[in-house]
């Protein structure tokens, strides 16, 4: 690989990753580490959602089913087998294979539907998984759930931190490459205009199914990490609330940006923690959920594109503006006017 060709942003992301490696040596409190670990896990989950929502334009209300599959696979395997690294690897493999199979079937069954309907259908399917987990009590322990043990190394907060960070970084770069690959570009085209993509000679259902399998597998992996971070699982891993949370993280961060969902996950995790810990400052913080709700409302009104989306748009505009100034020799209308016009179209 030619180093000079690597994008500048890659270096920035790598530098941030390195910083994050140092964090657990500074923040040694395990409870803070736990919050950061949750942030990593939900960042992975949110990125997987972004592949669907942001890059392919699919709204799913049932994404949590893959997360749950990952969580339960791990918990059940670790509960039934010895708590060794080997069974952990087995758990991951099972989680991924199951998620891939389920997302493939779900995708092939449902991705031909129009957006609303697809969303509702996935909601229903995730609901069925939830019911399944509640009813199949011999396997899942019902809604109370069950605990399980882990090999020593995974119980250690620092090594768990590193594992989650490493997963996050690898998955981030992996997905980023995916979105910038020719395949990823077609996904974006599908998001923009399905029919047109089809008439360019792409089979959109294939793309959607592949995208949903990728998203499903990544979500399942997030579920694996989630259950080992809790060493416990119950039916809440299939709850619609979880989909809603991850949806909000993605939107707040900015859909279709990949880094946005990570930031969104961080914000939601920390805001949640922070707001609920302010309870003795003022009674309103006891009802922190109200503030939480207000934050969502304000984000939509003031940052409709999400945080990263808004920043990118500003940046993109400026960049383009400068480019315009240099080029464009044949121009019929007078300069100033045209400038306005371009600007104006972009905002329109």
């Amino acid at each position: 690989m030619n180093l000079a060709k690597v994008e500048k942003s890659t270096w920035i992301y790598l530098a941030i990753s390195l910083l994050l490696v140092i964090v657990p040596f500074i923040v040694t409190g395990r409870s803070m580490q736990f919050i950061i670990i949750q942030f990593f896990i939900f960042a992975i989950f949110a990125m997987s959602y972004d592949i669907l929502l942001g890059y392919t334009g699919i709204i799913s209300f049932g994404h949590v089913m893959f997360f749950g599959i990952g969580a339960y696979s791990t918990a059940i395997v670790m509960n039934r087998f010895d708590s060794t690294i080997l069974s952990f690897i087995l758990a991951i493999i099972i989680a991924i294979i199951l998620a891939a199979i389920v997302s493939l079937i779900v995708g092939m069954l449902t991705l031909r539907l129009k957006s609303h309907f697809y969303a509702m259908l996935t909601l229903a399917l995730a609901g069925l998984f939830l019911v399944g987990a509640e009813k199949w009590r011999s396997l899942t322990g019902g809604n109370d759930g069950f605990t399980f043990s882990l090999p020593e190394i995974l119980r250690d907060s620092q090594s768990l931190y590193m594992l989650c960070l490493l997963s996050l970084v690898l998955i981030f770069f992996g997905l980023r490459r995916l979105t910038k690959s020719p395949f990823g570009r077609v996904l974006m085209a599908i998001r923009e205009n399905e029919k047109r993509t089809e008439s360019l000679g792409y089979k959109i259902v294939h793309y959607k199914v592949i995208a949903s399998v990728v998203a499903g597998v990544v979500a399942s992996f997030a579920g694996v990490l989630y259950s080992i971070s809790l060493r416990f699982v119950n039916t809440s891993v299939f709850a619609t609330d979880m989909t809603i949370d991850v949806l909000l993280m993605t939107i707040i961060g900015g859909v279709g940006t990949l880094i946005g969902p990570i930031i969104g996950a961080g914000l939601v995790e920390f805001a949640h923690h922070w707001l609920s810990s302010l309870a003795d400052v003022h009674w309103i913080f006891e009802r922190w959920i109200i503030l939480y709700g207000i934050v969502y409302i304000l984000v939509v009104i003031f940052f409709p594109l999400g945080i990263v989306g808004t920043i990118q748009k500003k940046f993109f505009n400026r960049q383009n503006y400068q480019k315009k100034k240099q080029q464009n020799p044949r121009r019929k209308l007078d300069e100033g006017r045209k400038e306005d016009e371009d600007e104006l179209y972009r905002n329109g």
């Binding site: 209308l333 006017r337 306005d340 016009e341 104006l344 329109g348």
Partner: protein, 235 residues
């Protein structure tokens, strides 16, 4: 003849961009007045501004002696101004009939009569009465858009490029219908089809870069090759 509509030094913005700089013209009652100008000159924006779909930032728009410059769109429409927009504005999921029903302000005898007249003019619409507007062919949509404006009793009609995408024979029909229509209603027309415009228009204004730069009688313009080249790109 008194003028029904008078624009005086109208300026308008779209978001923060100055699109109309100085538009001034008069539409005399009972005539067809034509706005001409090249692509992007501001013709559509002018019509939209009259309709209240764009804000007037300066200047005045006077309709029947009354300032309508900053009224809300539906108020303006209810003063008796009909509008056929450039992009047709068909309600795709409503049937042709429902499109017409949304447009009809009253259901009295007059309106029924007018409806019959319109359907005679465009029999295709009658044929596809129950078809969703979105499933119409390009030209049929254009007819529907015109029909919706014809069905109400209006003082003034603003029509933006009615001939776009129409078969020559339909263009004839539309031309003829406008000629019939102008007996009762004043018309302000934007048209790229010069042939059609010159047939029905009496007075014209040329808009360039958001300014009314020239005006005159349509008959004279036909002869004035220089002017046509300069503002309309026709040689």
């Amino acid at each position: 003849m008194s003028s029904l509509l008078r624009l005086n030094q109208v300026e308008a913005f779209i978001q923060k961009f100055h699109i109309l700089h100085d538009i001034s013209f008069e539409v005399p009652k009972g005539e067809v007045t034509v706005l001409l100008g090249r692509n992007g000159a501001g013709k559509t924006t002018t019509l939209r501004t009259i309709m209240g779909l764009n804000k007037v930032s300066k200047g005045s728009i006077n309709f029947q002696g009354e300032e309508i410059g900053n009224l809300l769109t539906h108020r303006i429409a209810n003063k008796g101004i009909g509008f056929v927009p450039e992009e047709q504005g068909i309600f795709g999921e409503l049937t042709v009939g429902e499109n017409m029903r949304v447009a009809m302000k009253k259901e009295d005898e007059q309106t029924t009569k007018r409806m019959e007249w319109v359907l005679d003019l465009f029999p295709d619409l009658k044929k596809f009465w129950k078809k969703p507007g979105g499933a119409l062919s390009g030209g049929q949509k254009q007819m529907l858009a015109i029909a919706r404006a014809y069905v109400n009793e209006n003082e003034l009609l603003l029509i933006d490029e009615p001939s776009k995408g129409l078969a020559p024979i339909i263009v004839d029909k539309v031309t003829e219908s406008i000629q019939q229509m102008k007996e009762q209603t004043t018309i302000l027309l934007v048209e790229q089809n010069f042939l059609m415009a010159s047939k029905i228009g009496k007075k014209f204004y040329i808009i360039d870069d958001g300014r009314t730069v020239h005006s005159g009688q349509m008959d004279e313009l036909k002869e004035d090759k220089v002017l046509m080249k300069k503002y309309l790109g026709i040689s």
